[in-house]
């Protein structure tokens, strides 16, 4: 399916929309899960694994629904294990390597703040299943936002080293934030039918929350108008995604006939 096509059906748009949501969460969950057993403190090992579980769990529900909408009798795992790099529609932001704990938390905060507003609005869409999922998952997203925001404050207003590290992380990652608000035909079509939310509704709220948090953390707020990376919703990714997928899909693809439950 191509989103570049001049026209798409509602069904195609819904499938694509769900995939974008699911891919973001699966890939970020994957990056978070890489911390398991390697966190800076035991409590954080638990918290990072918990967030990974939430994201992968949210993705699982979204894939299941996407497969149902697609109507080709595919299983949710087919969407996870048997699509290639260019078919993944997640943001570049979430596929970047986990970096140090500062980078992980900077990304986590920016994405959680975005998800917070997004899911708040998704609760209202006229798609009962998606709306229901959003309501259920929003509670967990609120926790992710609180948790990552607290770490931004601690690291920003902690020691000289932690301040430098998380400032560097925000500076580096900033260029990947613009894509969060990218919209195209898929969004427009669904917005007309009240099946999706307009991201512009909360862009200012997101900027305000990010700005006030960074300021409270004594950090400099990078320029929102700087050059922003683009292309991921069309399947144009960084080179990191291919490696991530190679690892994630290898076993499943090596034994395509095996049932692992």
């Amino acid at each position: 399916m191509s989103t570049a096509a001049d026209s798409i059906t509602t069904q195609e748009a819904r499938y694509e929309y769900l995939l974008r949501l699911a891919d973001d969460r699966l890939i970020l969950g994957h990056r978070l899960s890489e911390w398991c057993g390697h966190g800076p403190i035991l409590e954080e090992d638990i918290a990072l694994a918990n967030m990974a579980l939430d994201y992968i769990g949210h993705a699982a529900s979204l894939y299941e629904y996407a497969a149902e909408i697609e109507g080709k009798e595919r299983h949710r795992d087919d969407l996870v294990y048997f699509r290639n790099d260019v078919e993944f529609k997640n943001l570049k932001l979430v596929e970047l390597p986990r970096g140090d704990f500062g980078f992980t938390m900077a990304r986590q905060f920016l994405f959680s703040a975005f998800s917070y507003f997004l899911y708040e609005q998704l609760c209202e869409v006229e798609d009962e299943q998606l709306g229901g999922m959003a309501q259920k998952h929003w509670k967990e997203i609120k926790y992710h936002l609180r948790h990552s925001r607290e770490w931004v404050l601690r690291l920003g207003d902690g020691t000289k080293e932690s301040h430098r590290r998380i400032q560097d992380a925000f500076n580096e990652i900033w260029t990947y934030t613009g894509e969060m608000f990218y919209q195209d035909l898929v969004d427009e079509l669904l917005q007309d039918e009240k099946l999706a939310t307009d991201l512009n509704n909360f862009k200012a709220d997101w900027e305000e929350l990010v700005t006030s948090t960074l300021e409270e953390a004594t950090l400099e707020v990078p320029d929102f108008d700087q050059f922003m990376a683009e292309g991921s919703r069309k399947g144009l990714h960084t080179e990191h995604l291919g490696h991530l997928l190679a690892e994630m899909q290898h076993l499943r693809r090596s034994y395509p006939d095996a049932d692992w439950q």
Partner: protein, 314 residues
Amino acid sequence: MEDSTKREAFQERIDKGETIEPKDFMPDRYRQQLIRMMSQHAHSEIVGMLPEGNWITRAPSLRRKLILLSKVQDEAGHGLYLYSATETLGASRQEVIDDLLNGRAKYSSIFNYPTLSWADVAVIGWLVDGAAIINQTMLARSSYGPYARAMVRICKEESFHKKQGYEMVAKMAEGTPEQQEMIQDAVNRWWWPTLMMFGPHDDDSPNSAELIKWGVKSKTNDELRQSFVDRHVQEAHTVGLEIPDPDLEYNEETGHWNFGEIDWDEFWKVVKGNGPMNRERLNARRKAHEEGEWVREAAEEYARKRKLRQEKVS
């Protein structure tokens, strides 16, 4: 004199089956033995996250990925819970973790073996958690209250871990030829190291008699090992897997399975730090600790600044 009276009274309480609580009198040696056992147990949970954690990003289905991630997270929780229980004896978490990182403290040797295929995740759940349950069910009746209570809670989660492991084992054993081969290979590699988890023979276990006298343990290493063998041989046969022990034979008279001798040279080699993964496991823990240092410092500094600000306001 007072000491020996107190010690006698302590032993009487144990013999009556009473539970010892943190503020009660306890002989120094009892305290030291428990600190050793409980901190080793906590370290085993933490180091034990690594071999299974190795497969989280490669799990072959979303369901399996979620179960594995949640299992490894449980282990972190058990570690936290056990470190807290150890603190009730006056040993701080930092102290005992330093002992682990410096190589002074031990953890279960089973985690010094590598997870080479996905089937290892299944077999660890089935055999390693199966062995842990047998040991921990006994410890749930231990004389030291905080340890016993920790075990009750942990056992509930462990039995789920074992169940999901055995479910995977059974599924693979009836799967494709490759899956069957993979699962049998994993059983072959993990069977003997799992039997070693129960420790040396009773004759070579200097701590056992004392721990039994104090009601910390109620069964010997060999007794526990036998109940593990009896249960798991049956489970292996149910799903058509072979146990890699030519001496394995059912004994009609005793109602138990006779089994071959453990390779004690290998056992001691791994205990002394020369197993296949000892260095890697400890290095991974050290690396996480060192790389996390700036994070812990920042959290402390932030808390200090915040407290200062609050004091100024009030």
